[in-house]
Amino acid sequence: MSAAVEIRGVHFTYPDGRTALSGLDLRVDVGERVALLGPNGAGKTTLALHLNGINLADAGSVHIGDLPVTEAVLADIRRRVGLVFQDADDQLFMPTVAEDVAFGPANLGLRGSELAARVTEALRAVGAADLGDRAPHHLSGGERRRVALATVLAMRPDVLVLDEPTSGLDPAGHRELVEVLRSLPITQLIITHDLPFALELCARSVIVDGGRVVADAPTSDILSDEELLGRHRLALPFGFDPRMARPSR
């Protein structure tokens, strides 16, 4: 298997002096779906911002495929890595859904019918083909989340990074998102606090705490280790037994 993402010894300190990542290593293979777990402030979102060069590592290296993330290749990196932000209102900034989905591919230089085809393809992939003309603030929470996903799928990324994709979703929206993510044949890195969601989608989970990877194992093993979860401020929902749940595909 070749690596879709290879992170080696990444350190990052914010300008205000707060250290977010301190020697993080992670490898994700092509086609893998990995859950990124960890308490608030562990560095998960900071890590996501390193994957497409919004943040650049102080030390260490990040590779997307065979390409190292550096200032010189940012445009290519940002095409390869699709980042879906936690708050869809941050992601959807254009006046209409179709224009928002077109924003990324238009920045890649697509125009006209080629661009329109990309928009249709991305909206169809998330089951939102009929939402193109709507204004983002008139969508439901679940629709917004799926459209936000479409805005990055339109760039045909190699790696999809999702930050807390289930937060604020109702159960139906949750179900639709699971089905959409499962249908996408690309490498996925999913930051989440939603442990059943991780188990449902990801065969492998990684716990990040204190800016480092502290556990990397099959999701069912991690969720069965209550002591490990407790040490990193993670907890299963009441009554949920990972051994009884349907294993992820």
Binding site: N52, R78, L83, F93, P95, E99, N107
Partner: protein
Amino acid sequence: MGAGHAHPLYVHGHSPIHHLAPEVKIAAAVAYIAAAAVTPRQAIWAFGVQAAGVAAAIAVARLGPRFVLRRLTVVVPFVAFALCIPFIASGERIDVVGLSLSREGLWGAWNVVSKATIGASVSILLAGTTEVPRLLTGLSRLRVPGTLTAIAAFMVRYLEVIAGELGRMRTAMAARGYAPRWLWQARPVATSAGALFVRSYERGERVHAAMLSRGYTGTMPDLGGRRATAREWILAAAASGVAWLVALAAITGTGA
């Protein structure tokens, strides 16, 4: 979610005017209003022709007279001001149903009312047949700097988000018993305004990161859409041309 309609001035429709390219509509509207503005006030017939032109266009756009009249109430403050002019203006006075009014003032009032009404009607027609995003596209195609149209677009997009945040903050304050009645109780309002500013600023940073993530390099891409055809430009030039011909005829006719 739970937000009111974002474009209260827009009326959904499929009329020929709805389908015109936005840049054509904006240019024609500005030219038409300018024509009405330079028409001399004595040329009552000229205003009649211009008003008939707008009314015909409104009929073609199927905006509905009640909608237009309700929107036209925006000119009421100007009308109220205009109605004062005949009473307070100086010069030759004439008797109208027992009131002594200034002749000059009456012309002044007519001038304000007629031009404001035609100008507002054209604006209502433009806004009623063109959604805000399309207006912005039109403006940028008319070479309005991209930074300005982008700022306007973000304002339109995030106004409801920020209004929603403000609403939630007010609810949170009310839920904890805050019911200001006096000026010295206004401190929390000022604090929340500051908090709202900080939140909006932080949102701006997150939106910028989201834009960079999708390859933004400093200029908004032109997302195409249909550009105006020569036929549309000719049509728009004809419509505003009539208004200008009338205006010029009135100017030469009255010797102004």
